[in-house]
């Protein structure tokens, strides 16, 4: 992804450019493996009366492939293991893992497979793909913002909203919002 951005950035890099944009496609293109140690997948669900339920997944895997010639042919895939959900409250974690929400015992993986990547700005892109959870698949969109690229490590800030009701996880609505706000930092290591 980001062929044009990176091409532009390569020229502009001669002047003073922010580090994040000063990336040439030839440098960025390639395959990356998401490193869980330096990545995070956080989520937040608003609740009535203010505040929300915040949590994160500690176990996930994925890959990012940036196409050398066509950003649109780039790909992002990731798999989340819902068993690893953590909210800081063990009772809530147990509830989320149970068949009330993730049913982690029977559906141990939540998968995202990108179907298209579109540039939306100098360092941003819209990633469309198919999200599968609890046996149900729906198209979802995520916004990716390039954080940086150096020494074979690429970094993205990915955000998106997912309606949990579609995946059979509508428990607690309307007390808890149907919208899950995802906030991910994905760091890929080349190779």
């Amino acid at each position: 992804m980001y062929a044009r951005i990176f091409g532009f950035a390569a020229v502009a890099a001669c002047i003073a450019m922010p580090a994040s944009a000063a990336v040439a496609l030839s440098d960025a293109a390639g395959s990356y493996t998401i490193s869980p140690a330096s990545s995070s997948i956080r989520f937040s669900i608003g609740k009535v009366g203010g505040g929300g339920l915040d949590g994160a997944f500690s176990r996930f895997k994925g890959s990012i492939r940036i196409d050398n010639s066509d950003v649109g042919r780039s790909q992002v895939n990731f798999t989340i293991f819902p068993e690893s959900v953590g909210t800081g409250q063990s009772r809530i974690d147990a509830f989320l893992r149970s068949d009330a929400v993730f049913d982690a015992a029977n559906s141990p993986e939540i998968q995202f497979r990108s179907t298209s990547v579109k540039r939306t700005g100098d360092t941003s892109a819209l990633i469309t793909g198919r999200l599968t959870a609890r046996g149900k698949t729906f198209p979802e969109k995520f916004t990716a913002e390039l954080g940086g690229l150096k020494a074979g490590t690429i970094n993205f800030h990915v955000t998106g909203k997912v309606l949990r009701s579609r995946y059979g996880m509508d428990v607690g609505t309307p007390i808890y919002s149907n919208i899950v706000d995802f906030d991910m930092t994905l760091t890929g290591k080349r190779g």
């Binding site: 009535v48 509830f95 007390i175």
Partner: protein, 192 residues
Amino acid sequence: MSASITNTSTRYGWAAIVLHWLIALIFIGQFALGFVMVRLTSQRTAFELIQLHKSFGFLLLGLIILRIAWRIGNAGPALPRSVGSLERRTAPLAHFALYAFQLALPLSGWALVSVSMLEIPSMPFNLFVMPNLPLAESDAAESFWAAAHWYLAYAGIALVALHALAALRHHFWLKDTVLTRMITPSSDRDME
């Protein structure tokens, strides 16, 4: 002849009767719901039933406040003359205890959800957000109020059973009007 809303010196008005039976029904239903909801294996059903229990709890609290206000503003009928002196002295205490439990049960439940570390908002019947009581959240406070709510529930239902047995005794053994006057409202005819 038409049913009267207010109590007379010998009979209850329909307001007191409706409040009595409505609260009785919800109170017993709440006990059954509370008993079941903490014994389910389905966490989803448990969550939903707990929210329903909270909804009915807040409804109960509103009805009880209304009932106590009604009772204060509208004295109940006197006991029939046939009632003995011991019962004449203990009945008001039993009724005071019943009112105290009706008030303490929903309040202790409200305290429990207010101090819970789970911070699950209360939204009675999904209609509006009920604020929490101004109590500090902690695991210790949650355990305390959970225990308090549990003991109050069992003591309360025991008191309700005693109350029901006393009413049946009046009806079938003493054959007085104590039970029937809580079923048939006072009418214009009663008010001389």
